[in-house]
Amino acid sequence: MTATGTRTGRRMLGVHAAAVYGFFYAPILLLVVFSFSGDRLVGQWGGFTLDWYREFLDNEQLTAFHDGAIWTSLKVAAVSTVVSVVLGTLAALSLERFRFRGQRVFDALLYLPIIIPDVTMGIMMLIFFSEAITFADTYLGFEFAKGLQTIIISHIAFNISFVSVVVRARLAGMDDRLEEAAMDLYATRWQTFTHVTFPQILPGILGGALLALTLSLDDVVVTQFSAGPGATTLPVFVFSLIRKGVTPMINAVSVVMLVASLVLIAMMLLADGLRAEADETA
């Protein structure tokens, strides 16, 4: 094919693109459409209605303040994001800026949660928490059960890796001379960090935070293994609904999750834009 392509070639490319987008978006479109359908059966159009959204909002298990699945999801996402951003950024800084004993091992281990399958991670968490609960009960003399805290801990565990990968990429791309210049210009180490390093890696930290937030809000597998009877996140709740039989309320819930994800993606793109702008000026 020539650089511009033959007429048939270009037509085929168009068809291909249409097919790809069809595969991507047709299911989403159907999901959205049937969330407004008046029929109890998913996939049967029964006239426009907002009933499913109403049912969704009225569902105590989902929307109850504090212990509804939505609130649990938001709390888990918020706390695990904040903690993992701090720890992940510190890990990235230590790996990029300092040389210390055992660095290579730490480096390799840090990325393990990205590589191991979710199910394995989930089972690890399950065993870990049950051991920890027994240990605390037997030796430390206090009791705790699986619930919100264990979900948060498990989400922090996998989010740290993702945050540190993103922040580290940003740090690696930053000119070391900037920090030297700051110190040459009378900045202490801390001032160098706050005035130069931090603003430079901020887009990376924001990107990492949004990634962590999204991963936390979306996670089903790890959460299922670390959740207890008292606390369920939104995706896990949806998953359990399916077992009871699918109603269009699931569509409504899914649409809400979809919109939330889209908002996050938009924010991520915005952060990316900031990053590109900072790169331009680097």
Partner: protein, 353 residues
């Protein structure tokens, strides 16, 4: 008078690599001082040690009499202009220049006012609100200068400051740097691998190679009386005619010819007679009278516009002779037998050490 910078036995090792090897160096106040050498010679490491960005492994480093060996950079009265400028991309020009003052605790208003003056000094007035990315290389260079100078450092360090600029801009900035240094009367210590730059700008030059200082002197001293073979070869162009010392005023060249050249080295020492291309003359063989000379055949002629460089093949080496392009100058074609001659005082004897 106290020296601005004094290095005594300064050594820097990175693992097994000796980057700077027992360097002694005194830089007087108010001088434009160049550290010149090929890449990897240790000049930048030396500069970074003065700045406090690297710490010496051994030795004493004083700035105006105060030992600063392991003081961090923010505790030293020196500022650096980095090769890559290292301007803070997220700050505009004014905030970049005011940064050092702000870190020293000067309030925002005063810092900005002084920064504006410094920006004026480097002739960038009106560009205060620009971001570094919106400026040309030459302008960024000036911002980097202003950002360092605004702190009124006792010594300004410049790491290959003009390396990234094109020729025309570089020449302009050379003049600018010289002007600033004279106006401010502060020592400028700058690192370069460009010998021409070092010669034109400096009061004194230290020539470095392999972590050692080979010679410190004025541009004239270094060009006219290089301390050894390396310096003679590195500064400007030269022909090194190999030979041995025969007596205090004669060197016996490799082909057996004796030439007049004074040296105080012991008889029999292997030396080279450094003959600068512009100090050699070329003539048809029979025209040379009673002067030191060698004979050869023109191999090629390079036309430079203002001069011609003849590459002449001798029995044992090639010699370059530069003839100014004056009207009536005799031309020599490749293949012509010629003599290269010089005035007895035009050559300089160098050894390995």
């Amino acid at each position: 008078m106290t020296a601005a910078v004094e290095l005594t036995g300064i050594t820097k090792r990175f693992g097994d690599v000796v980057a700077v090897d027992a360097v002694d160096l005194v830089i007087d106040d108010g001088q434009f001082f160049a550290m010149l050498g090929p890449s990897g010679c240790g000049k930048t490491t030396t500069l970074r040690m003065i700045a406090g960005l690297d710490f010496p492994t051994e030795g004493s480093l004083k700035i105006f009499g105060d030992e600063v060996g392991t003081l961090p950079p923010n505790k030293r009265p020196v500022n650096t202009v980095f090769q890559s400028y290292a301007l803070f991309p997220h700050m505009n020009v004014l905030d970049n220049v005011a940064f050092g003052l702000r870190m020293q605790g000067v309030n925002k208003g005063d810092a900005r006012a002084k920064a504006a003056q410094a920006i004026d000094l480097v002739r960038l007035a009106g560009m205060e609100t620009r971001k570094p990315s919106q400026m040309s290389g030459g302008q960024q260079q000036r911002v980097a200068l202003a950002r360092a100078l605004v702190n009124e450092p006792k010594v300004l360090l410049l790491d290959e400051p003009l390396g990234a600029l094109d020729l025309k801009l570089r020449q302009e900035m050379q003049g600018e740097l010289k002007r600033l240094q004279q106006e401010l009367g502060v020592s400028f210590v700058f690192v370069t691998h460009d010998q021409e730059e070092a010669l034109t700008m400096s009061d004194r030059i230290a020539v470095m190679d392999q972590g050692r200082i080979l010679q410190v002197g004025s541009p004239e001293e270094i060009y006219e009386h290089p301390a050894n073979r390396f310096v003679a070869d590195f500064i400007g162009q030269t022909n090194l005619l190999e030979g041995t010392v025969e007596d205090s005023s004669t060197v016996c060249l490799a082909n057996g010819a004796r030439v007049q050249a004074s040296s105080d080295r012991p008889v029999g020492t292997a030396v080279a007679v450094s003959l600068r291309p512009e100090r050699a003359h070329i003539a048809a063989t029979e025209a040379v009278e009673d002067r030191p000379s060698v004979e050869g055949v023109v191999d090629r002629v390079t036309y430079l516009g203002n001069a011609r460089v003849y590459t002449v093949r001798l029995d044992w080496m090639e010699v370059e002779v530069r003839e100014e392009n004056r009207p009536g100058a005799a031309l020599h074609e490749p293949g012509a037998p010629v003599s290269i001659w010089w005035d007895p005082g035009a050559v300089w004897v160098v050894g390995d050490e």
